[in-house]
């Protein structure tokens, strides 16, 4: 007998990039995630997900209305995107704020997927024209207390998402760091595992794009960014940012995109 895990996926102020990234999941494939048992005996029942669900309009919204009652306290709420102030966003002829508030109140746990949801990200970038908030900030404001797991990244790697969900199904909430990120994926700095680290240690720095060498002087945020990109690689393992001759732009951190220019050298506090 398989157990159903109802899931509602809500899109706030997002670009849908997190959803598209999750579609790129290699093993499990996205078909495995949606239609098969993600782990034996347990099936994700994706009730509401605007980018892929068949239903539109009221037919789609009825699913949410129904879930808030019949699946109260049972469903996992995935939020992609930041939460802007009410006048800037509406869904189903309601403000986005009220929509999220109701969904959050009745959820069992919340996954903040992507940097916008976890920390505010791009919409919250200075001067934050829509007064966007991260999900944690929003919940605090509304005094809603629910377990929240942050899976930042612009976008997050599909493994970070599927791995976290599998962890929830098998063992419950994974070990989190002080920013509510699973330690499994965000425990180390890019810099610690970077394949160009030997260049850094030898002091060989790329001076312009396409040069050999460490990306540090081209603005690399690897010494400050927590993520396992260097050992995991992206898009079925074919490449990742630094391997492609780009500095890490620090997209997994709360300061993204405001820390400093992405292509300008930054002086790190943890630097000697």
């Amino acid at each position: 007998m398989k157990k159903e895990f109802p899931v509602i996926w809500f899109q706030g102020a997002s670009c849908s990039g997190c959803a598209v990234s999750v579609l790129n999941s290699l093993s499990p494939t996205i078909k495995n995630v949606l239609l098969d048992e993600l782990v034996p005996g347990k099936h994700i029942n994706l009730l509401f997900m605007p980018t892929i669900m068949t239903a539109s309009g009221s037919v789609a919204l009825d699913v949410v209305v129904d879930a808030k009652i019949s699946k109260k306290g049972e469903y996992i709420l995935i939020i992609e995107g930041a939460i802007p102030e009410s006048e800037f966003a509406e869904v189903g002829e309601k403000t986005m704020e009220s929509f999220v508030e109701e969904l959050a109140k009745n959820a069992s746990a919340i996954i903040s997927l992507g940097t916008c949801s976890a920390f505010g990200g791009i919409p919250k970038g200075v001067p934050n024209p829509t007064k966007s908030k991260s999900v944690e900030e929003f919940l605090k404001l509304k005094n809603i207390k629910k377990p929240v797991i942050n899976i930042p990244g612009c976008p997050p790697h599909p493994d970070w998402f599927t791995g976290t969900v599998a962890n929830l199904l098998l063992f419950g909430v994974p070990q989190l760091d002080e920013l509510s990120r699973p330690k499994l994926f965000y425990g180390k700095l890019i810099h610690e595992n970077c394949e160009r680290r030997p260049y850094f240690d030898k002091g060989k720095f790329a001076k312009k794009f396409s040069d050999e060498g460490c990306m540090y002087e081209l603005g690399c945020k690897g010494p400050y960014t927590h993520a396992d990109c260097p050992i995991r690689s992206w898009n079925s393992g074919v490449n990742w940012c630094v391997q492609n001759g780009s500095p890490c732009i620090g997209c997994c951190e709360p300061e993204f995109p405001d820390l400093e220019s992405m292509y300008k050298k930054t002086k790190w506090s943890n630097e000697k």
């Binding site: 290699l26 980018t51 009825d62 829509t130 490449n239």
Partner: protein, 497 residues
Amino acid sequence: MTKIVIDPVTRIEGHLKIEAIVDGGIVKEANSSGTLFRGLEIILKNRDPRDASQITQRICGVCPICHATASALALDSAFGIADRITDNGRIIRNLILGSNFIQSHILHFYHLAALDFVKSPDIPPFIPRYEGDYRLDEKENTELTQHYLKALEIRRKAHEMLALFGGKMPHNVGIIAGGVTEKPTTDKITNFLWRLNELREFIDNVYIPDVIAVAKKYSDYFQIGKGCGNYLAYGVFDLEGNEKNYLSRKRLLRSGRTSTDLTYKTVDSSKITEDVKHSWYDDSQTHKHPLDCETIPKKDKKNGYSWIKSPRYEGGVYEVGPLARILINYISGDEPTKKLVDSVLSEFNARPDVLFSVLGRHAARAIESKLVADNMADWVLQLNPEEPVFVEYQMPEEAEGMGLTEAPRGALGHWLKIKNKKIENYQCVVPTTWNASPKDDKEQPGPIEQAIVGTKIKDEKNPFEIVRIVRSFDPCLACAVHLVDLRGTTIGKFKAT
């Protein structure tokens, strides 16, 4: 008289609401509303201009590469190196963008649009759904559902191709001002080529036949959703790098305008204006060229019903997208395009005017996928691992730049002004702003609105016709809703009601 409200319109990018007034079974009026505002252009202000290629990608996670491309072109022009991008740089940009086009088109047909025509298994997220007008037989439904799943893998592989040169996807790091970040290597070229071969096989043997099979069962949709009948494209995929004026460049998909009479006209970007009478922005700034327009959000506005503005060309309503591009290549005598279009039309024994329709848009998208994929197989072999991919430049104290290209969904323009080596102002006029625009100052409805008006709705509880029309445009709302603000108006003036 009844009002049909579809909010949210799902299986598109972003937050869109459609309202239709139906009288006697016929849509009399339609309103298209963008319901989310993020203000990306305000966020771009005062940043290092080079950051634009990263920030503008975050406008849209489905089609970030077109924004990376437009911003790189805009920065190249601002830095005075538009005519100096190396062949390797130009070709790798094309390969990254081309992979995104194919991915986007396949995703659109199978995962966004097809469920309006194909009845999939009775499990979430395939149910609930509108019920009634599903016309494929059981065998076809099963086969198309199998292809839906296969297409999930194929589109993932398109992203793998993209990442070979772009680093990662969504949001690549490869395309930057001056070219691209990394040299091509023979292993990457071969790796790209063989993934591409698999994609081409899918396009030829599955995607195009599936579009034709669906069209045969829903052939009335060659007459539904015509729209405004004017088409505009800036063109995309540079075949040369020495021409500074992007609209004069030799491109695989050419720039131009046309109408239902299929005569060719040129595009002059200075003739674009944006109206805001029905958008939530202050009326004082209506009907101006994007570069001259100051935008003041105004949500408590009597006539307003959308965060989207209304771009117009010489005051006329224009549709942008794959249909516009394919029509323009077709009438300007591009042989491979002509052959493909004529071969699809011969399946239906039809004339080109059936292309102005829901099915015409789907067919154009499939044809374009083949054109781009076939050409990428040649381009990737033109790369030279020994040659440079990046050109150095000096950051100017002050400059202006313009980047005109195409997103999978249609014509895309980025404009920027640099002052003190920072972005003073940045502006994007994107495809869905054209297609999903509300009524303009002259009360002319936007292309999607026009495509819905006049449509016969068989069942108001299950308004298949409306969602099929809307999705045929492949709307991207995250792209469409942005704020033009080139004169330093502060958002702080905006007081919520």
